[in-house]
Amino acid sequence: MSRKISYKDAINEALSQEMERDKSVIVMGLDNAGGRGTEGEKDAWGGVLGVTKGLYGKYGDRVMDTPISEAAYIGSAVGAAACGMRPVVEMMFVDFLGVCFDQMMNQAAKFRYMFGGKSVTPVVMRTMYGGGFRAAAQHSQVLYSILAHIPGLKVVVPSTPYDAKGLLIECIRDNDPVIFLEHKALYGMKGEVPEESYTIPFGQANIVREGKDLTIVALGRMVHMASQAAASLAKTGVEVEVIDPRTISPIDWATILKSVEKTGKLVVVDEANPRCSMATDISAKVVQEAFKALTAPIKMVTAPHTPPPFSDVLEDLYIPNAAKIEAAVRSIL
């Protein structure tokens, strides 16, 4: 497997292969084809950053463009999923969840429980998250903690092209509602991705780097920051273990706990705001379940408790980075 493609192309390929395989898979979102109702090119956009580009050419009207009515079209995806389809619906940026959250939180997530187990709702919601684009307070948020808080949703945060493809295919085949979060600053990242279809099961963390001195759990784009920090620490003889949970609901507690049992120390790296976050979630689990093993305070490296700022200097200070992670690690060595 030596073919390298981008995170963005890996997502596109996963969608294409699943649409090919299963007629009940449909794709919908703002401008996911693009150019409808115009006199110019059809398939003009493939979504705002081009992730679904080309699918319209291959699958025609199974790629549905939508009016700017997130609640209605995401709700439609939920309804269609409850009636035998497997929609992959895009909420362009996760920051927009405020206009359509009910359909995910109170409808999709709760149907099965409210209906006594007598329904399945295999809807996938793709959405972009995260900072680095100087896109300011309403287009740079992370927000997956909010989604992970809701029982009934599954939440997936791939950090590499390989994981993006395998996890997205898993999402589409899964019978529960899943939110698939794409970090917009990773779209250009290239990595090895098999051409053939494959899946990665939910709840299976990836040990990105082994180490005995300290455990870092990092999410999404932060996995790469953590790896950078670990590489730098290794030069001074500190062996850090870096874990990428890949899915945060469900989450692979066993791998995280086992690592902390070994290292006795934990740093959690989460690009989100700190309060009630995945960083606190992982910290809390570890202090409950691996307390005896802990030999130092847990450290969290997160964005501060402020909205994302616009200016590049401020955003660079805002997003966790390798230097901050390294400092957090050193503070508890």
């Binding site: 439609s76 269609a80 035998g84 099965r112 409210m114």
Partner: protein, 323 residues
């Protein structure tokens, strides 16, 4: 009237009567304190759910509201299971996990009562979309109230249904009130159906207490939808006989308002009078149905009361298919 065979007329009457009896009985039982939670009764509005659902089969889908019992019954959901559900019993339609506000039966094309005002129309758009992709001629009907007609989801869905040319009927049940607030306050036009034109679809208003008016208008809209003609907004003006939910003293209604409605605008009375005077059905035939329905509701309550509750083992199941 002429369109309907006698068996259809009897069926329509039976459904309306089942709803009425179900609701009147719940009103009584609720007062005893044995029924948990919020209960919103549909009594008075039976002709609407029935007139619409008489056109539907199990492959057609509806979404309902917090006031969902009537829609469920009209769509064929089992009454014994519904009653048990409302009592919070393991034998209920949703194993006691949903309750009055969440009764659903996907096999019957009933996508669920809903505790969120306006949540249904998007779901029904999706159901209708599924019908299109699956190549059935199934339609979707979104029931919603006059109050719900102001929720963004409802308005967005009307537009979406037209953009996607979906076989959807937006069924506005205008019972004059959203909780304690009059429709005259919340809706600045004479009819909710006036909103249809702005989304490029036909809008029709009928007397929702007249089963036949509902049946006919729904028939037109549903045929149109089945044939690929797109969505319709159909408004049915009706009354609710009980409070917004059980426990509501209805002081916001004019004194005697409900009494007058029960006397002059009761869809069951209107229906009976019409079919009997037209000689299509006899009073005795309807009375026979009344008896059967009374027995059915008695049975439903007795079974619900006797049924077992869910147990601790049920608490954590059915959140996910797999996790």
């Amino acid at each position: 009237m002429s369109e309907l065979k006698k068996e259809d007329l009897l069926k329509a009457y039976r459904i309306m009567k089942e709803i009425r009896e179900f609701e009147e009985r719940l009103h009584v039982e609720f007062a005893t304190g044995k029924i948990p939670g919020f209960v919103h009764l549909y009594a008075g509005e039976e002709a609407v759910a029935t007139g619409v659902c008489m056109h539907l089969t199990d492959q057609d889908r509806i979404s309902s509201t917090h006031r969902g019992h009537g829609h469920c019954i009209a769509k064929g959901v089992d009454i014994i299971g519904m009653m048990a559900e409302i009592y919070g019993k393991k034998t209920g339609t949703c194993c006691g996990k949903g309750g009055s506000m969440h009764i659903a039966d996907l096999e019957k094309g009933m996508l669920g009562a809903n505790g969120i005002v306006g949540a249904g129309p998007p779901l029904v758009c999706g159901a209708a979309l599924a019908s299109k992709f699956k190549g059935t001629d199934g339609v979707g009907v979104a029931f919603f109230g006059d109050g719900a007609s102001n929720q963004g989801t409802v308005l967005e869905s009307m537009n979406l249904a037209n953009v996607w040319n979906l076989p959807v009927i937006f069924l506005a049940e205008n019972n004059g009130y959203a909780e304690s607030t009059g429709v005259k306050y919340n809706v600045p036009t004479p009819n909710i159906a006036d909103r249809a034109a702005g989304f490029g679809m036909p809008g029709v208003t009928v007397d929702g207490n007249d089963f036949f008016a509902v049946y006919e208008a729904a028939g037109v809209a549903i045929r149109r939808a089945r044939e690929g003609g797109g969505p319709t907004l159909l408004e049915c003006k009706t009354n609710r006989f009980f409070g917004h939910f059980e426990g509501d003293a209805m002081t916001y209604k004019a004194p005697g308002e409900v009494k007058r409605q029960r006397e002059e605008n009761d869809c069951l009375k209107i229906f009976s009078a019409k079919v009997i005077s037209a000689g299509l059905v006899t009073a005795a035939e309807l009375e026979a149905i009344d008896k059967e329905v009374a027995a059915l509701i008695n049975e439903a309550v007795a079974k619900a009361v006797a049924a077992p509750k869910p147990t601790e083992a049920d608490l954590l199941t059915d959140v996910y298919v797999s996790y």
